[in-house]
Symmetry: C2
Subunit: 385 residues, 2 copies
Amino acid sequence: MSDRVFTQHLGGKIEIKSKIEIHNRDDLSIVYTPGVARICMAIHESPEKSFDLTIRKNMVAVVSDGTAVLGLGDIGPLAALPVMEGKAMLFKKFANVDAFPICLATKDVEDIIKTVKNIAPSFGAINLEDISSPRCFEIENRLRTELDIPVFHDDQHGTAAVMTAALINSLKLVHKKMSDIKVVVNGTGAAGIACTNMLLDIGVKNIIGCDRKGALHQSRNDLDQTKKDYLSRTNPNNESGSIHDVIKGADVFVGVSSSNILTVDDLKNMNKDPIVFAMANPDPEIMPEIALPHVAIMATGRSDYPNQINNVLAFPGIFRGALDCHAADINAEMKLAAAFAIANCVEENALTRDHIIPSVFDEKVAPAVAAAVIKAARKTGVSRK
Amino acid sequence: MSDRVFTQHLGGKIEIKSKIEIHNRDDLSIVYTPGVARICMAIHESPEKSFDLTIRKNMVAVVSDGTAVLGLGDIGPLAALPVMEGKAMLFKKFANVDAFPICLATKDVEDIIKTVKNIAPSFGAINLEDISSPRCFEIENRLRTELDIPVFHDDQHGTAAVMTAALINSLKLVHKKMSDIKVVVNGTGAAGIACTNMLLDIGVKNIIGCDRKGALHQSRNDLDQTKKDYLSRTNPNNESGSIHDVIKGADVFVGVSSSNILTVDDLKNMNKDPIVFAMANPDPEIMPEIALPHVAIMATGRSDYPNQINNVLAFPGIFRGALDCHAADINAEMKLAAAFAIANCVEENALTRDHIIPSVFDEKVAPAVAAAVIKAARKTGVSRK
């Protein structure tokens, strides 16, 4: 227990800080009773003022039930808490968003929805995190509908936005168009489905999703409703077979599931100038040193290789923007605007196969994403200021 | 909206602060993925470690449904939020306890219980606040039983502990014993019941509770179960009548309900050396300038008169102690220990009729309360370290 990782976690990684100091009775009577009563009554008369006069203006709940934590799986809410604390640190560091971890002692979908709705008065937005698929879809959809504050499942849309940003820039390098490419997505869980949806939104026509049994196609009789819905939007040529079959002729591989599933032969079977986003954790679908001789562009989720596809490029700026324009929702247009903003943080003359996305420490990114998100929110009518 | 009270509330009064700075990929890999995975798995194997390796070590939820806020009543969760933020500031200032406001969009008892249980993995203790009576009793009792972390309704026990501290010191000045005095408690809601229970715990034999209809006595046929239970422990001589009747011969008046209900005649009808704790908000049951010529000791809840009976003398130290000894509960012994500790912060030679309790800014109080609470927790077997 004495190494640096453990010592840095002792007592948790975040704390509460007062924004105003209390030195005397006068201070006390302003921030607490009796002075605070006027603020209470102002909000009681106009509930919307809670977004100006309370922490709701800048506070996000990072909500997890601990069912799909990192690559560790269903480790429960207590074990998930250190991750959610880390997430709160990233919100603060990269976009000055206050975030508080809410780890839930329930896995029941209705119970989760009810609980988040019940605690929503303390928050300006909800970030869902590490909730397993397909439960995450209903939870997010229902909460988006039933709450008047933004609800965003980062494992879906954060991943999708950064992956899409990476693809926007990659296609500039290989001179291909979104409408012309064939994309194979390995993994049809939360991240895979969200990546697919965003690629469809940006104009990709031919996407083939694969689960552990291979491509989703019309003759599969083992697909649940989520996968049937997925199939209805994808695989226009109804290709069948394993990942190794359908990757033939593909321009892009998007991996969000199984480590070490790709071979050099798979890469050789792809179309000219293959693009491989091998984002499985902790080990990618193929290691960069093996893939690099055979691909045009290689990206992973790891910080120890170039082109790290990391959600932290997206979620801080997305929430910063949504909070600042008091958005009622984070819609598809706002997510896509975030992807373009991230892509545009790499200037054309700096764009190389080893630099398709900005560094996670590039301080330009979050403000650029926030500005783009606000613009899209206003354009689509979900901003409230 | 431009005065100081409003400007100080803009954007809320608390924020989230990282305890560790993130400067580079190395830092990131310790507080977030991949390093954090080892902490997650350590907690997954030993859930108890969540109290050392996460915010649970020092984090209290300040939970309200907004049904009984200050003297404002049922103003709802959004309007209650500024009060809960203020409470969080007091926790931090007076005892370095991190506290986060959870305002609930439900008034249903079962729903509140379920919600608090669901979010408990993020917290080391629960402070219930401004929840109306009698719902608050079931909520607190059930949560105390069903959770393994301390649950404490401050409107009940914080008020009771400070009032009891004030009475302990007052009796020293008038040379009376707890077992000999007659006490009239006006208000049989959350605070009145808790004050009564603590007075019984400390040895008072003759307590008469009054509601809006006067004394609770055996011939009343309009009492709900909470009041029947109250009556079963009180009014041994079955006195009946209005507050003005039963106050005759009383040594102590404890008011937690109705402003301006007492008259000078009432005070004159009390026993020799009357003690009046007129704690109604915002105006006491009788103003000190009117009462003072006729009483031995006068205290209120207000900061602009001597002898302020303010919960802030109790709850920060009580939670500090409970968290530090990893208590499973805050039991009656611990609450009573807090009362004695607060009383003892006024040294015998400093004790006067205008100084029966310490100032809210007396920095000795919270540590003294915490130490006493830890001692009582260990003695009663609820501490876990």
